[in-house]
Symmetry: C2
Subunit: 461 residues, 2 copies
Amino acid sequence: MSAVERALAEAEALVPEALRRLADYVRLPAVSSDPERAADVRRMAELAAHDLRAAGLAGVEVLEVPDALPCVRAERQVAAEAPTVLVYGHFDQQPFDPALWDSPPNQLTERDGRLYGRGAADDLGGWLSQLVAFRGWEAAGGPPVNLRYLLEGEEEIGSPNLGRYMDAFPDAFAADVMVLTDCDNPSTEVPGLTVSLRGLLEVEVSLRALAGKVHSGLWGGALPDVSVGLCKLIGGLVDEGGRLAGLEQPVDAAWRESVAGLSPSDEDLRRDAGLLPGVSGLDPGGRPRVEWMWRQPHLTVVATTLPSPERAANVLLPEATARLSVRLAPEQDADEAFAFLRRRCEELAPFGLEVRVERRLAAEGWSYAAEGPAFDAAARAYERAFGRPLVKIGVGGSIPFIALFAERFPDTPLVLNGVMDPRTSAHGPNESLDKELFRKVVRANVLLLDELARVADDLRR
Amino acid sequence: MSAVERALAEAEALVPEALRRLADYVRLPAVSSDPERAADVRRMAELAAHDLRAAGLAGVEVLEVPDALPCVRAERQVAAEAPTVLVYGHFDQQPFDPALWDSPPNQLTERDGRLYGRGAADDLGGWLSQLVAFRGWEAAGGPPVNLRYLLEGEEEIGSPNLGRYMDAFPDAFAADVMVLTDCDNPSTEVPGLTVSLRGLLEVEVSLRALAGKVHSGLWGGALPDVSVGLCKLIGGLVDEGGRLAGLEQPVDAAWRESVAGLSPSDEDLRRDAGLLPGVSGLDPGGRPRVEWMWRQPHLTVVATTLPSPERAANVLLPEATARLSVRLAPEQDADEAFAFLRRRCEELAPFGLEVRVERRLAAEGWSYAAEGPAFDAAARAYERAFGRPLVKIGVGGSIPFIALFAERFPDTPLVLNGVMDPRTSAHGPNESLDKELFRKVVRANVLLLDELARVADDLRR
């Protein structure tokens, strides 16, 4: 039996114990957004440090920078000439409202092969799947690569201090490959690696007409009306199908083929996003729906200065402003998108109203070439573990820590995987981990270290 | 010298003293919307009662109903067979912000032939112009008709208790003709009688898509978006010119001809409504602009449930609601207008969103035939006093007391005049009364009683 086969067998045997341990993690409400839960986040850091030590890792340490929640580091050096793999995960969790859950959020509960609990998949199960793989290798004589673990306590609040940790502890992050455990799979059957994130552009559009409020009865009909104008302008930015007009991005046919079968149906949207009966998802117009979610821009209105119903007054307003949020396609240039939107708003300016368009924030998307030895190694590992071809997926939102890694370590290959699937409901009620998927990802992670070791010469810089 | 000529001369001579007395009225901040000013409103009632008594009127009384500000009544019976004319006015005022005024709001200040002060025209100068006309007649031997005065203390808050006063003191309102002193003239040169008011329809439009909020990054592009949809729906209700599409009302050519020269220019809008430089009024499309202000419906958005900028969140909302306010054309049927709007919103429902349209309130407009002996008598009086033909004007808003009179006394002719002109800025800062206009209206009011006496047989019922 080869080392990798022994590691697979050992890891497989450790899964039941690991899932019991997951129940201990889930019990701790380590909600980073809630200052009153800071002690629980710290307790979780200690628990993780304990288990990293128990697994045989060295240099286990709870890291601190001022005014931040902690990180945890650990490492295992096997050979100077072996490549170093950094495993990133996070141990903090999203808040939760027990009233919306079918079982207590902090009590890991099995139903139909899934384990329900806050953090079960995002991301406690994620880094645990890596730790189990490591323990499998340890039991089989030691891993074939050098390893570092870096677990964060602030991912769910946007990793505001991760850059400071990188500055303060550069050697905790140094690696030839980074593996990030916080991502999704297209289904429990199909392995996925995340290769793109959309960017974000926030724009403020203001219309002005008058020096002050005037009586809508006396003047309505004579003066241009900013409240109606703002609606008409925003309505003009989207087409009849609800798509931001004029900013569509080219997507290649090969990519479309690769995601065949991944798009959520209306029934999936009803179950996973709460789409109401009688309402359909936006018409994807013959394209994969995931293209619209991952690879195309999307406009929404996140705020306006129009009065709330409690403050309704029969007046014509002097000015009105909308804050528009545009999810940018992964490759889309934020400057160009902003210039287009500004020009479009100026063209649309209804009834001759004075229009002002300002950029509030912009974050480019992230699009990963997803090629090269590390990615190919990951593809082999995942395909072997799942018995199915790997799918390159995207994420419709922005994930600050990935953008930060990509920016700080532009030459280091990134492997973004995880234990989530579309039914996971990360951030929502009834978050769950599929037990069989967890088992497959553990296998894939064992194989991943083996595959990375095989391309060691290509990875070391 | 005829009686009417003597009355004209006597009234003319009383004008300077009356304008000094107006300064005393203006000094009292009788702001009915401010509970802390209730004592001033009552003081103003006493002042008015004193002057009505001093003028020689009988039965002067401050009227009260519980939980309301007072009214004041007075009367003068000259002959049982003479018709009775009810003069309505109000002595309460709009609130004011001295910071926006060029002179103290409670100190009547003359500049360029105009008297600036809160209430100077709306409506202290209005009923004072009638009182001066009465005093002119008294000095000339007595008026040719029976007269009643009814002055209200709550007009500026929408006359909420005027109906109760009508119930409690029916004989204070009984009359063959009502003359209401609270209206406008097209200019200081041209006399006007108000013959129409727009109605008001408030509609709530709601769009629903989801059971709860979802992450706009993860789902934006897959789900129909109520915030964008609401804007698109509202934008679809108005045409490119800012006009509520499909609800236009027929207006006859004779009416259009009668208002030639009355429409405000862009420069007028800048001065009177605060239109900004560089922005134009809505294009009237070759029609008189006053048609759009008085005789056509107009849509505005008075509130939405979209978040304010402080509460902006990058989410897709489960639902969104707008409160729409439609000024109805005077003759427009509120039920039909609502049915049209509901159907139109359902047709427009963007992206297949679930739409609900509810009526919140509806008040029909008021359109007065403006014919018959009382109106003709008024026309003769005004044309003679101004030396210019009378113009029938409209008001773009609703005026509760007029609607109430029209409803309670459907067969009693209404003469709606006053001492305001487009520069008066009633309800706004720097309210003013044109001295020459006041003098002309006093003349017109003297002549009005004479003309009404001449058609006595047609007026008495």
